[in-house]
Amino acid sequence: MSEFSMTIPSGTTRTFPTAGKYCDKDISITATGGNYDKGVTDGIEAGKQAAYDAFWDSLQQNGNRVSYQSAFGSGWNDENFKPKYDLKPNNANTMFEYSEIVDLKGALERAGVTLDFSGVTNNRLVQMFQGSLIQNVGIVDVTGCAGLASPLGYLFMGGSRLVNIEKWVMTDDGTQKFNETNTFQGCTRLEEIRLEGLLGCSLSFKDCAVLSNASVQSIIDHLKDLTGATAQTLTLHATVGTNLSEEQKAAITAKNWTLVY
């Protein structure tokens, strides 16, 4: 007598053609109940988690990675950008250059991690969003680059799809220097930005044709009072400047700033 065994998924029927060989009918075996399907599902999910852990543990060096230069460029999108560990770079040059992520802030929230730029040093925040599809950015804290002799340049340059920068954090003393012309060069779709800290150097938003009045008000509120000091210049797009109220223009010049639009 021979024996055989096989596994039949729960709820399915297997038919073995035996008619004419061992008996006059085919043999049908129907499996009921059991945990086979759950076992398969659980196994697949465990495999996915193991693959996710292996990939991100390696990519983020088990949470210890700090150099993220060019880390999430072309090929990264809202579906596959799922960091396992908080990101706290000390080098964020071109970190998202040509990235296909659209909602960076949302992707980080879904992954349950944070992105903290405050540890970046030596002005290594060049063209982070250049050529990317990113529209929505959370907090960009540049206080780690305070006190440097050379201005921080190219910060948001080339971020042509940027729409919302939740918060741009500078130092509270307004001594940080930013490149006047290239910091927001090419940010043609920027609508919303809120500042924290003080801006104490000339800055141009000339390309930001759809910058909201509320955003401009935030900029005005965070201009360092330069009364008695060398005047600096705030440049806005012509349309944005035209829509300023007389009170807003007065608030700018009252702090010894020149407004250009």
């Binding site: 250049q130 006047e180 012309t181 000339k206 400047g241 010049t253 407004l259 250009v260």
Partner: protein, 55 residues
């Protein structure tokens, strides 16, 4: 009640021209009281400062 008097100097470029200080440019320049207006010059579009190339 607080009363403030803000004095501004407003420079407006002629039609087809821009104002520039060599760094930035625009059609309208609003200067705080006492600011030096001499650094602002009226230029044609061809004479504007060239924008920096992307790195």
């Amino acid at each position: 009640m607080k009363t403030e008097t803000i004095t501004q100097t407003i420079l407006t470029a002629d039609e087809g021209k821009y104002l520039t200080d060599g760094e930035t440019y625009g059609k309208t320049v609003v200067l705080p009281e006492g600011a030096d207006t001499s650094e602002w010059k009226e230029v044609t579009e061809d004479e504007l400062p060239k924008e920096e190339e992307q790195v």
